[in-house]
């Protein structure tokens, strides 16, 4: 049986850490999911859907359960400032992950170049490659200077460039792109006729007054932007795997084709529950009871808690403006990694493994979110997820305190 050339794709670079964390029963601040429950109203909505009529357990509309697409259109039209057509401008997918897959498959052709801003959620690159495209990287640099970023981005654009991928709020950095930065990207997209794939799964999670801005709402961008959202991150129910793409119909049409030929339908009951979630949030929008206000407020406190803990250890966390994660510079940590493992592996990979095995604390190495060409520059950072119960954060704090006392 012939070898499968297509399958020599990069596999998940941080999956081994999830397994290792489980094996060592580590306190898990690694993979990005809450260890607290979704809000009661969404759990109730799911229960209601499950005990609903028989149609709740059978196929629904392939491109998105009608109540869900209607509620998404209603909700986001108000924010984007564009009348979103529920049937033409939205595609519901199995998590934002599948939305990304449909977007890359539909919009990237053989030989296209796709600019990815680093650090990036690690699936973007294999998805670009699977679509026959080539990833071109532009790193975010610690000293942000909008003109320099603009120049660097512009210098990477060629006649083959098809799209730019941004993630705001960003995983793992936590950066929330400002309007001027998005405008700069928009100007380049318009000038060079590029598409913009905007992964906004953490859109509700901004801190310290940072504002999430949708690049699709900027002039000239609706027709060339693909915006990706996630019920998992929105309602703290990552295991439901409901996501969506919102874009102009002429782009959604191609994504529908990919979807219809790969998955075709998403689970009905979960979509029904998410539809109710958005109906409730539409009514509550701007209200203190809105989950979209309560969740960031709760996480704001956890973010601070983790940061203080890391600072007290002599580590330098980078305060995220948004998202689930906080990265920390570990270059000041003196540790004998003492491992017989692959010394070709980046420092942070080896450090994370050591931290799991020796201290029982799981994190993710940040160089996993960089291209091979830039990995070495960024191998002194590790990523923590702070979307955890206080007890989990306390347990992590205990481990870190004991460790620093041992030094």
């Amino acid at each position: 049986v012939a070898s499968k050339k297509k399958c020599k794709k990069k596999t998940c670079s941080f999956c081994p850490f999830t397994q290792l964390a489980a094996d060592y029963k580590a306190v898990n601040l690694g993979q990005g999911f809450p260890d607290f429950s979704p809000p009661q109203f969404i759990q109730d909505a799911f229960c209601k859907a499950i005990s609903g009529g028989p149609q709740m357990h059978q196929y629904t509309r392939g491109f998105g359960h009608p109540p869900l697409v209607k509620n998404l259109a209603k909700f986001f039209s108000r924010i984007v400032g564009h009348d979103i057509d529920p049937l033409e401008d939205i595609l519901v997918t199995v998590g934002a992950y599948q939305a990304l897959f449909c977007a890359f498959q539909a919009l990237v052709d053989e030989g296209d170049e796709v600019i990815i801003v680093e650090p990036f959620f690690d699936c973007y690159q294999p998805m670009v490659v699977m679509a026959g495209g080539k990833a071109v990287y532009v790193p975010l640099r610690p000293v942000k200077h909008i003109l320099r970023m603009s120049q660097e981005l512009a210098s990477k654009i060629t006649s083959r460039t098809k799209a730019i991928v941004i993630n705001t709020p960003n995983n793992p950095l936590g950066k929330v792109y400002k309007t001027e930065e998005l405008q700069m990207i928009a100007d380049l997209c318009i000038r060079h006729n590029l598409l913009c794939i905007s992964d906004e799964v953490y859109e509700w999670l901004t801190y310290d007054g940072a504002k999430h801005v949708k690049i699709a709402s900027l002039p000239g961008m609706w027709e060339r932007t693909v915006t990706i959202g996630s019920a998992g991150k929105t309602f703290s129910a990552t295991g439901w795997k409901v996501g969506w793409v919102i874009s102009s119909g002429h782009l959604i049409k191609h994504m529908k084709t990919i979807h219809q030929n790969s998955i075709y339908h998403c689970a009905t009951a979960a979509q029904e529950a998410v539809a109710h979630g958005f109906e409730r949030e539409y009514e509550m929008f701007g209200n203190p009871e809105s989950y979209f206000k309560q969740l960031p407020a709760m996480l704001h406190h956890k973010r601070k808690k983790l940061a203080l803990c890391l600072q007290s250890m002599g580590l330098q966390p980078i305060m995220p403006e948004g998202g689930y994660f906080m990265i920390t510079d570990i270059s000041s940590v003196k540790v004998n990694l003492n491992d017989q493992s692959n010394t070709d592996e980046p420092f942070d990979f080896r450090f994370v493994k050591w931290l799991i095995k020796e201290k029982g604390l799981a994190t993710i190495p940040v160089s996993a979110f960089y291209s091979p060409e830039h990995r070495k520059e960024f191998d002194k950072y590790i990523r923590f997820c702070f979307v955890k119960e206080d007890s989990t954060l306390d347990a992590a704090e205990d481990i870190l305190r004991k460790w620093s006392q041992q030094e």
Binding site: C7, Q55, G239, Q260, T268, A270
Partner: protein, 416 residues
């Protein structure tokens, strides 16, 4: 993917009738025996299992990408028994978004640009766009009807051995089989599977076996897994569906079972496409499997009881159709029935659309008789359309009241 492939897929989507006919038949006054999903409820313990899973915190967050541990373990147990071999839950199973998702993962993982893939007609209509999306060429071979029988069953449809053999060449990467078959309901016999297996081994070809209707087998017939034939485990991916197994098509969970050296590539595709399936749904399916594993071989086992329930409906629908002057093809398995409408002598030549007879017939039947079915030429390649254009497909996994309503329509039709 290249725009060429997308355009092809788009053209095929235009032909994919599910979307078009679903909206036509969505009129509530239409009796819908078209699209293939139950209007009977799933077993209550399955729904309860989902409610229970959803109430557990952990179950609302990500689980293992290649399949929720309790689910792959349950699958390993159930199928270990069925296959008569140890199946590694972590290396030889992949959980996917429905049988559909398994088909997609299989094609993307194992089929390459320039390959040929043999498809038996009539086929579940997604096979062709999926083969094309992988950059490969579909090669068709029709099931042919043995002439001269008065009562026709799905067993009367067969593959011509010489014709089948002629389709294999050095470019052939795989053959797709679907048993029990949608839409005919044929269950491939051991001899037929052996013939296919011999060719696969001779030409070093893979076999993708779509067995989503594996439990819906009627009296006197047996579902055989081609992967259990000698030499076949190592070259077969077998696809199943929770939706069809537990009458929960809206849950969209399925699984692929195969040897590690093939399954690992499907797992890579999974990692690069949607990463993981929904957790609470997987947990509920796991519980359902564990429950039924204990009951396997007994009449209370859902895998047996559903087939019994459906056999009665099958026979009822067949009788209704015969009384209306149509010729049903009695299926050995699955929940569809093919019907030959030739004897109705319906003249549709006044409809000038450039469509096959069965498309015109179904549209006319929905409009004039308020009864929905699916045209069978949607399930065949261009060259076989003439052979199948007098057939329509009915789905009988429906409430008795739905079948009776269809019966009334057909009774009145016969009278007119």
């Amino acid at each position: 993917m290249s725009w060429k492939n997308v355009e092809y897929a788009v053209k095929l989507i235009v032909q994919v009738i599910m979307v078009a006919f679903t909206s036509l038949a969505a009129d509530p006054s239409v009796v819908n025996l078209g699209q293939g999903f139950p209007d009977i409820p799933p077993p209550s313990y399955i729904k309860e299992g989902l409610a229970k899973a959803a109430s557990e915190d952990r179950m609302n967050q990500y689980t293992r990408g290649f399949g929720h541990p309790s689910l792959v373990k349950a699958l390993s147990q159930v199928y270990g028994k069925v296959y008569g071999r140890q199946i590694d839950p972590f290396k030889e199973i992949l959980v996917t978004v429905g049988g559909y998702g398994s088909l997609f993962s299989t094609m993307q993982a194992l089929v390459e640009e320039g390959d040929e893939v043999i498809i038996i007609e009539p086929f579940f209509d997604c096979y062709v766009p999926m083969v094309r999306m992988a950059g490969a060429k579909p090669v068709f071979i029709p099931l042919r009807l043995k002439p001269g029988k008065k009562t026709i069953t799905s067993a009367d449809w067969f593959l011509d051995p010489d014709e089948l053999s002629s389709k294999f060449n050095s470019k052939t990467k795989a053959i797709i089989i679907n048993t029990p078959n949608n839409p005919i309901g044929k269950i491939f016999t051991r001899d037929e599977l052996q013939m296919i297996a011999d060719l696969c081994i001779k030409h070093d070809t893979l076999c993708f076996s779509d067995e989503v209707y594996e439990w819906l087998v009627y009296k006197g017939h047996q579902h055989i897994k081609i992967a259990t034939l000698p030499g076949m485990w190592d070259r077969t991916i077998t696809i199943s569906s929770a939706g069809k197994t537990f009458s929960v098509t809206g849950w969209k969970l399925g699984w692929s079972i195969g040897p590690e050296h093939l399954t690992k590539h499907l797992q890579t595709v999974m990692q690069n496409t949607l990463y993981t399936c929904a957790t609470p749904l997987q947990e509920a399916v796991a519980q359902g499997l564990v429950l039924n594993y204990e009951l396997m071989g007994q009449p209370e086992c859902y895998f047996t009881s559903l087939a019994e329930e459906l056999e009665v409906k099958r026979d009822r629908l067949a009788t209704i159709l015969q009384e209306a002057g149509m010729t049903p093809v009695i299926p050995e398995g699955g929940y569809f029935m093919l019907v030959d409408v030739t004897s109705l002598n319906l003249d549709l030549s006044h409809i000038t659309d450039d469509e096959a007879y069965d498309y015109k017939f179904v549209k006319w039947m929905i409009k004039e008789k308020k009864l929905a079915a699916i045209p069978v030429t949607a399930f065949v390649g261009d060259e076989s359309k003439k052979q199948f254009e007098k057939y329509i497909r009915f789905c009988f996994i429906k409430q008795d009241s739905t079948l009776e309503a269809a019966g009334n329509i057909l009774k009145n039709w016969a009278k007119s």
